[in-house]
């Protein structure tokens, strides 16, 4: 089981002080969060990708390359990489480059992006979201797996005799997760290729998450990648903790009430009951997180949203310390005790390389 942190990278005023961090502060804060994620013993840091204010992370591989140089173990990922509006050729190049710099500590989570104007700004149309995700990813896979690519499609200039450089580290492309909250087509895409499927259940109720994950698992088996319960699933989560749960609720409520996306809507209590948000004691976070497998099955990656809605960096770093000290060690133990032996871990560069080498020997 991998545990980690994913960051949206929003620049949001702190509702308790009215103070808005500068872009520079926010970017450095994201880096501090990533370094802390490794320091407290978690496994993954994933950055969002956005091309509109109030978000700062428009250039994920620049940030992840910098973090790679300052970490030893941390797996660097995205949440999400825009497979619709980014050029698949540039994704192939950027992430292969990052793979080399990070010695393989890289994977990606692909998403479509839901900000209408971003599509035309990058010469695309949001109504083509699914066809773009399908075609661009099909090309991305070939660019990483074939040294010379001839290609023609609907959305991009054709390629004749193109070689994406650098080639993936050890000839092993980064593992890919496909993320979608509500589109069955994306669960289908992840299943077809035998890639991972990530559901950001921060924003959706458990019943819906179950349907999406079940669809992915069933189709993963249908496409011959193995039994449904061995498919590779990741989930989101969002926590705010204090030793005393009432203190956590009191301190987090103004951030919840004013948060982008769900602020000014449901109450913190209702939203916590329906979604993956937990505001309370470390034990409550442990209990809630362990309950996710009841609707998603045994899964491989748990990412937490920690630094958003204007929370000051100092508070976020304290939260990460609590996660690392009081929550993650218990979760590791409890998940290990509950997960059957046949359920695989999420693929890493090493495991993919080992599988590839084994297949080459047997071939």
């Amino acid at each position: 089981m991998q545990f980690g942190v994913f960051s949206v990278g929003d620049v949001t005023p702190d509702p308790t002080t009215g103070r808005t961090p500068s872009e520079a502060e926010r970017i450095k804060a994201m880096v501090a969060v990533a370094l802390k994620t490794e320091e407290v013993g978690m496994d993954v840091f994933a950055t969002g990708e956005h091309h509109n204010p109030p978000f700062v992370p428009s250039s994920p591989t620049t940030m992840l390359g910098y973090i790679a140089a300052r970490t030893q173990r941390l797996l660097l990922s995205t949440a999400t990489t825009l497979i619709t509006t980014d050029d698949p050729v540039k994704i192939a190049e950027d992430y292969a480059m990052l793979q080399h710099l990070a010695d393989g500590r890289v994977d990606l989570m692909l998403g479509r992006g839901n900000t209408g104007p971003v599509y035309p700004w990058f010469g695309k149309d949001i109504r083509d979201g699914i066809p773009l995700a399908v075609e661009n990813y099909a090309l991305l896979r070939r660019l990483w797996r074939e040294d010379v690519v001839d290609w023609e499609g609907r959305f991009r200039t054709p390629l004749q005799g193109f070689t994406s450089t650098p080639r993936p580290l050890d000839g092993v492309p980064p593992f890919v997760w496909h993320a979608s909250i509500r589109s069955p087509e994306i669960a289908e895409q992840a299943a077809f290729y035998g890639d991972g499927f990530f559901h950001n259940n921060i924003f959706w109720d458990a019943g819906h998450v179950r349907r999406m994950v079940n669809l992915y698992r069933r189709r993963y088996e249908h496409y011959g990648h193995g039994p449904a319960d061995r498919a590779i699933v990741g989930l989101g989560g969002q926590v705010f903790m204090r030793k005393n749960s009432q203190d956590a609720v009191r301190e987090f409520r103004p951030y919840f009430d004013n948060a982008p996306v769900y602020g000014h809507g449901p109450s913190l209590e209702d939203f916590s009951e329906l979604t993956a948000l937990t505001v309370g004691s470390p034990q409550q976070v442990i209990d809630k997180t362990l309950s996710f497998r009841e609707f998603a099955g045994d899964y491989q990656r748990q990412l937490f949203l920690m630094d958003h809605a204007g929370l000051p960096l100092k508070t976020v770093l304290e939260q990460l310390d609590m996660l690392g000290e009081d929550v993650i060690p218990v979760l590791r133990k409890e998940f290990a005790a509950r997960t059957p032996a046949h359920v695989p871990n999420a693929p890493t560069h090493e495991s993919l390389k080992a599988t590839r080498d084994k297949e080459e020997v047997s071939a």
């Binding site: 699914i130 066809p131 399908v134 075609e135 099909a138 609907r154 509500r182 069955p184 087509e185 669960a187 289908e188 895409q189 299943a191 077809f192 924003f203 959706w204 109720d205 019943g207 819906h208 349907r211 999406m212 079940n214 669809l215 189709r219 496409y223 996306v261 769900y262 000014h264 809507g265 449901p266 209702d270 939203f271 329906l274």
Partner: protein
């Protein structure tokens, strides 16, 4: 005896509400008309006021909370819909629109629907034709020709030259019952149960 499901939606604000009163009369008349076709009606009435906060939450969060789920399912699973709103500023009220904003695309495709409204004066009656009917047309509901508007005077003798309210109700209910009795609404395919195969997506279909 064949059974058909009717969903009755009232966006009335007051308690008691004349909008709800009109909705109940339409439901009773439709039930009676269905009986003449040898069809039993199973009626589910929804007061949107009771779900007002959940409706706003659904619009803000993008998902339907468990308390609202039975409402959405009742509308989606009905063979016929009776939708009644008070007239606010020459149109349906916001509460009425919130429900239709919270439905998944395609929920009303082909659904036999009767539209009705209440208002403070008969001069608002065309709000049904100018506001409610286009909304339902956009949602691909099959709206019966007679829409029923109840002004204050309709609860007494009505206005000169206008058929009495009970006659208009009977006519609209008869039109709805004809459509509902003719065939049950078939549920749309569930994309989580029957996804589009990826080979098809790859071919751009």
């Amino acid at each position: 005896m064949t059974t058909r499901k009717l969903a009755v939606v009232s966006a009335g604000i007051g308690v008691p509400s004349s909008t709800r009163l009109l909705a109940d009369r339409l439901a009773a008349a439709t039930t009676a008309a269905l009986t003449e076709h040898g069809v039993a009606a199973e009626v589910e009435v929804v007061e949107l006021r009771e779900h007002a906060h959940e409706l706003v939450d659904a619009v803000l969060t993008g998902f339907v909370a468990p308390g609202l789920r039975p409402v959405v399912d009742a509308v989606a699973g009905a063979d016929g819909l009776i939708a009644v709103t008070p007239t606010f500023s020459a149109s349906y009220n916001g509460l009425f629109k919130l429900l239709f904003d919270a439905l998944e695309e395609g929920t009303l495709d082909g659904k036999p629907t009767l539209i009705a409204a209440t208002g403070g004066t008969g001069r608002h009656s065309l709000a049904l034709e100018h506001a409610v009917r286009p909304l339902m047309a956009y949602l691909h509901a099959v709206v019966v020709p007679t829409a029923v508007f109840a002004a204050p005077e309709d609860w007494a003798g009505g206005a000169a030259g206008v058929p009495a309210l009970d006659r208009r109700i009977a006519r609209a209910a008869g039109e709805l019952a004809d459509l509902v009795a003719a065939r049950p609404v078939t549920a749309a395919a569930d994309p989580f149960e029957e996804p589009i195969p990826f080979e098809q997506l790859l071919r751009g279909e």
